[in-house]
């Protein structure tokens, strides 16, 4: 494995950040501290971390309703993400968007999105911009298995390949769209098989293997960056939590959930790093401790931050 150690460290840090952030959000939400809804990324960390470690700061991503992982992995500020979840004026969106709409274009984050599949047309637009402006930026579009049945998925893939756009489509197939098992509403098992219908390469990858995700994405990103067009990557994964916090998860067999949780992508990566003598237990524990402190700081920051003035609700509509 010839991935530089610094990239491996980055992947590990991203995964731990996401894991600890989401675990804390889970508990804060249960305690009634967060308004609205949250959709947690627990269990899917390897995809966000593996993909975003291949990207530059000025590459674009579009995200989903389950977007905390993407935003953290793209370099989002934990304080500003947490404050946004609390609806505070110090959040990325000044409290206007909340969990499903966090955006920060300065890091290429073109927004989490509350509409399933809506990131796909927006992503091809960003990819068009880069191509037109000759900037060699690449756009990564995250979406789920449910989104692959939306018309906008099909339309966007067709346009991406027809115009050879620098976009990488990353499908996080966690087998369920809310409470619907996808095998009941989609005949084709591998979403990546749809790539051929649109004239682009399609790759299936173990979405819980951060190295595999990294390597497959790196190749796709280079392909896009050098003008060779789009790719569809499908990461097989699983969400540990229900669709949203508070939802009774009655639609997934307990054994299935437990089986996936026992194949923890972080534990797996940690084992690999130690077995290959890349890091020691102590070094990784130290990283964990530092990140835990950052998460706790973010929560304090959010708690201590002011709410927006109510009249701010009338601002920011027009440019």
């Amino acid at each position: 494995m010839d991935i530089p150690k610094i990239k491996l460290k980055l992947m590990y840090e991203k995964m731990i950040k996401i894991r600890y952030f989401e675990e804390h959000v889970r508990d804060l939400f249960a305690a009634g501290e967060l308004p609205g809804f949250v959709h947690l990324y627990l269990g899917q960390e390897a995809i966000a971390a593996g993909v975003c470690t291949t990207l530059r700061d000025n590459d674009y991503i579009t995200s989903t309703h389950r977007g905390h992982g993407h935003i953290i992995a793209k370099g989002g500020d934990l304080n500003k993400i947490m404050a946004e979840l609390y609806g505070k004026s110090t959040g990325y969106n000044k409290g206007k968007g909340g969990s499903m709409h966090i955006a920060w274009p300065l890091l290429g984050i073109l927004g989490a999105n509350g509409i399933v599949g809506a990131g796909l047309p927006i992503a091809i637009g960003a990819a068009f911009s880069s191509k037109y402006l000759k900037s060699d930026q690449v756009t990564v579009c995250f979406f789920g298995d449910g989104a692959s049945n939306e018309g906008m998925f099909h339309e966007s893939l067709n346009i991406a390949s027809a115009f050879n756009l620098p976009v990488v489509f990353v499908c996080e197939n966690n087998l369920y769209a809310v409470g619907t098992r996808q095998s009941e509403v989609r005949k084709v098992e591998d979403i990546a098989a749809r790539a051929g219908a649109y004239g682009m390469p399609g790759v299936v990858v173990d979405g819980n293997d951060v190295i595999a995700v990294y390597e497959v994405t790196k190749e796709a990103v280079e392909r896009a960056r050098t003008g060779d067009g789009p790719t569809l990557i499908e990461g097989k994964t699983y969400r540990w939590r229900p669709h949203f916090e508070g939802e009774p998860d009655t639609y997934r067999p307990r054994e299935e959930v437990e089986a996936w949780m026992s194949r923890d992508p972080i534990a797996r990566f940690r084992d690999l790093l130690i077995n290959q003598n890349i890091f020691t237990d102590n070094e990784l524990d130290e990283i964990n401790r530092e990140i835990l402190a950052e998460i706790r700081d973010a929560i304090q920051f959010a708690r201590n931050s002011p709410l927006p003035a109510p009249e701010e609700a009338l601002q920011d509509l027009w440019a």
Binding site: Y60, T62, G91, Y92, N93, K94, G95, K96, G97, H101, A103, W104, P105, L106, L110, G111, N113, G114, I115, A118, L120, P121, I122, A123, I124, G125, A126, A127, F128, S129, S130, Y132, L133, G151, M152, E155, S156, N158, I159, A162, F163, Q315, D316, L317, W318, A319
Partner: protein, 325 residues
């Protein structure tokens, strides 16, 4: 002064803005070598090439969404829908994405996107090719909606729409593409949100827009022969409404007739009624009269379409009704 057809005026606006600003790009169905179904982009492909004048597949949802993404990342796309009736397919990207992104992202982003589309009937084009959907999008915060009635207005308003850093829907009327009118050769723009008084009068105010402006002007000439002096306000932009101009006129005349090609319920005319009822009730000497389409889809057979849509005689009757109550 030279005259241009409405579609030529649109083309000239596009060409001038594209020459001035390389971030302006166009896409839509058949807008390249074909020149657009209504000739509004004729010659642009030859001047600006396939990189800036792009033919799309029939995927309105994705190609309008692509405009949103491009606008969010530094470009100024001006996107054509071949018929505004198909805006329904792109509604998700316009309503839930473009209109909301700046606001829900806390003001960190701009979406300088224009969507151009032809509206309207009087062509026996049938129920799915004769719609006017301006009311549906005026309802949504974060969108501006423009309805030019002349070649002069089309050019001036389109230039403003392209330069605006917000989401603008630019609804051209199919019956007007072949209308000739004076268009200066010197640079000019018309601000969005500003109505124009097409005819001053003292007896009754007609508020109208798009193709209806011309029917109202003909009706006013006939009414003048009966000593009824009509003031005509062409809204030009239906969202935001130029409420000030409307109120000032109604204060003067005391009578209001709203002439609108499309259905009455929850429409631009309804909004005007609400504004007058709230801010100018005591200016009125009589109830407001609305002349609109009948509340049915626009039928195909010419005799049926004529029955459904406004006409000069219906406008004349509407004015007389307003003055007699």
């Amino acid at each position: 002064m030279r005259e241009l057809f409405y579609n030529q005026a649109i083309k000239e606006a596009l060409a001038e803005e594209m020459r001035k600003d390389s971030s302006v790009v166009l896409w839509g169905l058949d807008i390249g070598p074909y020149g657009g179904a209504n000739g509004a982009t004729k010659g642009l492909y030859e001047e600006f090439g396939p990189e800036r004048v792009i033919d799309m597949p029939i995927s309105e949802l994705a190609y309008v969404g692509m405009g949103v993404g491009a606008a969010a990342t530094g470009l100024r796309p001006v996107i054509e829908l071949q018929f505004s009736d198909w805006i329904t397919l792109a509604s998700e990207m316009i309503i839930n994405q473009a209109a909301k992104m700046r606001y829900m992202f806390g003001g960190i982003m701009e979406i300088p996107m224009v969507v151009r589309a032809p509206i309207g009937g009087y062509l026996s084009a049938g129920p799915q090719h004769s719609n006017c959907f301006e009311s549906m999008f005026s309802f949504v915060p974060g969108i501006k909606v423009v309805t030019p009635s002349t070649p002069y207005a089309a050019k001036g308003l389109l230039k403003s729409a392209i330069r605006d850093n917000n989401v603008v829907l630019f609804f051209e009327h199919k019956k007007l593409y072949g209308l000739r009118g004076e268009v200066p050769e010197t640079e000019y723009t018309i601000p969005l949100g500003q109505a124009e008084i097409k005819r001053t009068g003292k007896d009754v105010t007609i508020v109208t827009y798009a193709y209806m402006v011309h029917l109202c002007i003909s009706a006013a000439e006939k009414l003048a022969q009966e000593n009824i002096d009509v003031e005509i306000i062409d809204l030009q932009t239906v969202d935001p409404l130029d409420e000030k101009t409307i109120l000032k006129s109604v204060e003067k005349t005391g009578h209001l007739v709203i002439v609108q090609e499309t259905w009455p319920d929850c429409s631009i005319s309804s909004e005007i009624c609400a504004r007058i009822a709230g801010h100018g009730l005591y200016y009125l000497d009589a109830p407001i009269v609305r002349v609109t389409a009948e509340d049915v889809p626009i039928p195909f057979s010419p005799v049926l379409e004529e029955f459904v849509l406004p006409s000069e005689s219906k406008i004349i009757n509407g004015v007389k009704r307003a003055l007699s109550s």
